[in-house]
Chain length 310, copies 3
């Protein structure tokens, strides 16, 4: 019997069915419990995962590699694009066609939007998108959703604020489409220059999601159960003074947490530079490191599901 996601690629979040999303989240929860009880699983013993990182991403790579090892599987890795055959002029499609003979599943990170779909079309083994430039980062959005569910017990009925650079943030774009499947209220908090793209906001409203836009982080946090911070990067501003003026208002510190809604959960995809002060780390609702750690069970679920080893 073929299971739900067996043989499928994980390229984006918007094409996942509700049933697929549900099986991913529940498999991740089951694996996490099993890891705690039994220490190790062997679902993927004898299997090989190829981590093809045409762009460095330590966190995503190590988290996938750990997930594969926790399932009893092995890993082959291209961590540095400069030492790969791409440097010799090989096309990405040729590279993945070769590697499919070495592995049972490919995890790919690539700077070009659409590259993951291209890779998936070129090979017959499952491809998991570990981030394709300005495109998608589905496994991050899935672990974010898993984290909210785990921290809050449910997603339904929550108000979630997403703050910072909502214009360029691949992560938040993938995430809001997942959140829209639940009964959530969304608050988009950003400077005017870095607003969520209009077509995304419209999509969400069309789907019946209650969306508010503001540039007042403190106000948003007073109404939110979860605040998801992202980085505001200097290079996104034409006027450096504008950046200097704005960045301060998107730095989360303890006084802001104290005035926020009771028990607010604070998330961040990491790495953070200065968006959340270190003093916040000790706050019980500071979930960003737990969020990073949730990458392991969620990626275990994805690896096992697409290879039929769940």
């Amino acid at each position: 019997m073929t299971t739900l996601l067996e043989g499928k690629d994980i390229l984006r979040t918007d094409t996942l069915t509700d049933e697929e999303l549900d099986v991913i989240l529940s498999t991740a929860a089951r694996f996490e419990a099993q890891l705690e009880d039994e220490g190790r699983l062997d679902n993927m013993a004898g299997q090989v995962m190829a981590a093809m990182f045409f762009e460095p991403s330590t966190r995503t790579r190590l988290s996938f590699e750990s997930a594969m090892h926790r399932l009893g599987g092995d890993v082959i890795t291209i961590a540095d694009p400069k030492t790969s055959s791409a440097a010799k002029g090989e096309s990405m499609a040729d590279a993945v066609k070769v590697v499919q003979g070495y592995a049972d599943v490919i995890v790919m990170r690539h700077p070009r939007k659409g590259s993951a779909a291209e890779a998936a079309a070129a090979v017959s083994i499952p491809v998991i998108n570990g981030g394709d430039g300005a495109g998608q980062h589905p496994t991050q959005a899935l672990l974010d959703t898993y984290t909210i569910k785990k921290e809050k017990g449910t997603l339904d009925g929550l108000t979630v604020a997403l703050a910072g650079d909502l214009k360029n943030g691949r992560t938040v774009h993938s995430l809001v489409y997942l959140l829209a499947r639940f009964d959530v209220r969304l608050i988009f908090v950003s400077p005017a220059q870095l607003k969520m793209p209009g077509h995304i906001t419209e999509d969400l409203v069309d789907q019946g999601v209650d969306v508010t836009e503001t540039d007042d982080l403190a106000a948003a946090m007073r109404e939110s159960d979860v605040v998801y911070m992202t980085r505001i990067q200097k290079e996104r501003f034409d006027d450096p003074e504008e950046y200097e003026r704005l960045k301060g208002s998107y730095v989360l510190d303890m006084p802001m947490v104290e005035q926020a809604k009771d028990g607010i959960t604070i998330m961040h995809p990491l790495p953070r530079v200065n968006e959340i002060k270190e003093e916040v780390d000790a706050y019980a609702g500071a979930a960003y490191f737990r969020q990073a750690h949730n990458g392991v069970p969620v990626r275990m679920a994805l690896l096992a599901l697409v290879t039929g080893r769940e």
Copy 2:
């Protein structure tokens, strides 16, 4: 009982006995069948392979690493020479003497001809040459031979054309000595500037091989059961115009395939840049990706044989 290749180094193809070649090819075929049936082997469980790549080679490295994992073994890797102790002035001999204490077998790639033999002389564990500059690349030649046998059923009675840069191609130099052990006819197809070195052609003729030289790829393909393409690199030409004039005639496209001998098998060591058009990939006899994949069972056979785990 010690098996045939136990404790031996794999440094070049011309010193392999016919019996050794035979056991490598048959062990590879057996491993490939076992992998298909059982999914995994554990011949090398508990063993460690050191991949020492003093020069990057993603394909060869990943293929060896996958082979080791498919045998149940573990891998330690130097993928980037810039972060190795060679950068601190250590000799290659010292480096391998240290690593022999960490591993059961060493796979080495090094830009200097003769380096693999030096390494083998310095240590007591088996060394497999993963390419030593202008020297040899025996595992590539072995997987090429394995591929022809698998694609055609036998090597005897075949006509094999080798095309492109036959002067500088380490791969074809290692390969022709293996092919010469079978009842094959060889056609060397290259521009005059990039002919097979005279001493190799003479060696082959002395061994009784039927060798023809030509610069007409289309004509050669009309008589060949197998055509093995290699890249013509611009930097090999003194006169860039000469390169521009010639390169087109060594680009394999579908019209050429259609006029070739029926069922011709097309091979390439990869990566290709533009020597074979992508339109050819769909042709049933386009074997170059299967050829790359054959690197896994052939390297499994070599690893298991030299460590006595076959």
Copy 3:
């Protein structure tokens, strides 16, 4: 029952108790014997070691990775700081806090003194210091001590000469504090500019160790059971001529070995550049490659002890 070092960090040598030192050395000896008998151990099956090398160190990294594999465990690795999230401005503390969710033990190399202690304070899983800049390199000192014991049967009653750059050598600084726990006599051999720091020599004398200082290597070797060579680096000298004049007297060759105390053991942390001539390698007491190989059982012992898998 919690074993002696379970859950502890290995950050420096001077805070280890005698009992802890003893259990490390005896566990290493037991693992080494078991490896020889059984080929493999599975103490750490299902566990993951994170090798975080913010500064390259091939030897230390491969030796730890091999140790983890010999215990049946798996490894995730940051080998190249340029591709790590540190390049995106992430603090080292954040980096290890993330990685603790991916692994059961962290081995860290970092160019900044004190960084290993900082990392250990940030996470709840054990941290092993693989060298922190001008700070400590405890696992090297432990394997050096293990080597002397193995080569000589005991440390008590020995005269050990340490030669070369004693001023800047992190390794010898960590080592002398370990040796001081045994009944050894120490001879420090160096040019005046590169003498052992006064506070260390005073510490040792205060502890009752018999310490002699000299610049005459040949004389020291006539009285020593062990000579530990280190490199004299040109960049440590203000006056290049002074360097040229001195370096020759700290190059160990066979005539010097022949005039040394009978059976003298020669050690070096490697890589060597020219401090020991290659002609010495064939001498039975040349222990530097065996010393490097001892890194595996000693690091196996540390990994298993701190994770409670001994």
